[in-house]
Amino acid sequence: MTKSNFKLAMRSLRSTKWRSFLTMLGVVIGVMSVVTIVSLGEGVRQQLTRQIKQSGPNLITIRPGRLVERDNKGQISQIHYIGLLNNGSLSEDDLRIVEKTPDLELVVPLGLINGIATNGNIKADSLLLIGTNDQFPTSINQKILYGSFFTAADANAPAAVIGDNVSKTLFRQVGPIGQPFDVRGQEVIVRGSLAPFDNSPLTPGVDYNNAILMPYDFAKTLGNGQIQLFQIMVRPKKGADLNKTISNLTGQLASAHGGNQDFTILSANDNQAIASKTMTVLTSLIGGIAAISLLVGGIGIMNIMLVAVSERTHEIGVRKSVGATNRQILDQFLVEAVAISLVGGILGIIGSLIANYFLRLWTSLEPAISPGIMLAALVMSLAVGVFFGVTPAVKAARKDPIESLRRG
């Protein structure tokens, strides 16, 4: 019965092509925007995860500010999203404490200095100037695309390694090795260029593709002694216990801060959890807004179905007079509403696939559409059809056959 109802519904939709199409469009746009946004979020999440995986499972990051709350088992229970952008409260004293901690393979400080990089007439004020040490590429397993990274011997040398975008913005050429540029009147020579980062998971808000990395001590001098530590990356020696190292670091830093935990130590897993949770929150927020358009689409269906029911009153009367039960009339109109929303859903998914294709083509985003998302979208459009189709269908089913027949 449902199958023949569906055929009947498709026929009735075809007979009012424009109207059906426009009604469907509401659902198409709704599903398309929700699916696209969710797959975008999923894509970014996958990029973040990949980046964290690339850095290895035992990289520990220390950041200023209290970013997370933990439950008894040490699992992250709450994230302070505002704190993710927080700086301060991490000093060079802390760096020294960390460096003295036993069983560490490497310690990489990351500090920001103020300044604008210029190259002749080109002024690049959006670039970040970061001081770090020679271990930086090792710590996160980042490849050097051109040239080489500075070494430990270069601590005070005016050398720089640039992010992938900098060659475009500051030099307008590929691999500007040996090219000079100026920061605060000091000439700095480009030593190397980093391979592009998918994203910047290690520090939200810092885009390493738009960063100029310089030796820590040189950078500090360049900034007149002012350097703001926003992250210290630590990797324990092979065989050392990760959790033990973390608790060791936590204890030492806390005692240096007078017992306050105004810093955060995160393992690779924690970082991944934060990235994942953050993306989920963001995606559901924007996806939720997009879902409103689906709601509007649903109201469109309801509206058009109400019109259809009153237009087809006579048909309902005829059908009832030949023995259709209320339930059979209800099914007929409900299936019609569901057909609109379901076909709209399918078109929306196809539209979203096309949109994702062009997003990959034209932007650096890599939206990931999974079968799960598609299935969820279908179920969602089905639910919209049922929810907004029920009222008109009930109205149709309850029509009085004699009255309906009279409306010929």
């Binding site: 019965m1 023949s4 026929r11 009735s12 059908r319 009832k320 030949v322 023995g323 004699i402 027949l405």
Partner: protein
């Protein structure tokens, strides 16, 4: 055993002063195989009677027995199922669904029975052959003449092999030639053993019936058995007491209706209940003008 048994069936519309009596304690017994014509002026309750018998409407009071089922107090869905299985409707305005082909229109009642598509189209094809429209199976209703459309409607009414065929002025929209064809078809159906109820304004058509009932103000005022091929006495009076325009007009049932109103109502066929008659008269007087 009668196929239809109405006892004291009343149908009232409205409340209080505005109450309209569409059916006034009608008693009617119809045996299987009867061809009953129902006549009467507009607003006399003929259509309401057919709607009640056809289970489209439920009586306000009284009992209605269709075959062995007590049908007056059924719930809407039970009524729908009973209607589907035992009643076939033929309307004045055909009431075919415009977007379905002739074959699909005929098969419609079977679809609500849950029959598979191939099976129901096959049965519908057979019934269409019976009404002589096999070559019109894939036409749409608007491509048919009025007579053909009505024959399709009759095929649709027949397709479920109902125990009662209800025809509400089946020739009202047809010319005389088509009228004759349709009436011959109904007569054939009657001859093959079906029970047919027909409302008509045309006394000529009572020739096809073996029983003629007159209604007035919701009551049956005359109930005659007559041989097929004869216009019964009362109908003949209707027939000859009005000025006719042309024979064609009359045969198509266009005019010939106002003469059916008797000067003085005949004695009721239903047992009049003396205790209630006074009360009835009071609201009947007020309702006569307000009825459709």
């Amino acid at each position: 055993m009668p196929v239809i048994e109405l006892s004291d069936v009343s149908k009232l519309y409205g409340f209080g002063n505005a109450t309209t009596v569409a059916l006034d304690e009608v008693n009617l017994v119809i045996e299987p195989g009867e061809f009953m014509a129902i006549m009467g002026p507009s607003g006399s309750g003929k259509s309401t009677l057919l709607n009640v018998i056809g289970l489209l409407d439920r009586p306000t009071h009284g009992d209605y027995k269709l075959g062995e089922r007590y049908a007056a107090r059924l719930r809407p869905n039970q009524r729908a199922v009973l209607r589907r299985d035992s009643i076939g409707f033929v309307f004045q305005s055909f009431n075919l669904l415009p977007k379905l082909s002739v074959l699909e229109n005929v098969a419609l009642p079977l679809a609500y029975k849950g029959m598979s598509q191939t099976k129901r189209l096959k049965i519908a094809g057979n019934v269409l052959e019976r009404v002589g429209l096999s070559d019109r199976e894939y036409f749409l209703p608007h491509q048919l003449s009025g007579g053909q459309a009505q024959r399709v409607a009759i095929a649709r009414a027949l397709v479920n092999e109902p125990s009662v065929i209800i025809a509400d002025e089946p020739t009202g929209n047809l010319d005389s030639g088509s009228s004759r064809l349709v009436m011959e078809l109904l007569s054939d159906i009657h001859k093959s053993g079906s029970t047919v109820l027909m409302v008509t304004h045309n006394p000529e058509l009572t020739r096809y019936a073996n029983r003629v009932v007159f209604m007035h103000d919701g009551s049956i005022i005359s109930d005659e058995i007559s041989a097929i091929g004869e216009v019964p006495r009362r109908a003949r009076k209707t027939l000859y007491s009005i000025p006719k325009k042309t024979l064609q007009d009359d045969a198509a049932g266009v005019s010939a209706l106002m003469g059916a109103i008797p000067e003085k109502p005949f004695k009721k066929v239903s047992k009049p209940k003396t205790t209630k008659s006074k009360r009835k008269k009071s609201y009947k007087a007020s309702s006569r003008t307000s009825k459709k």
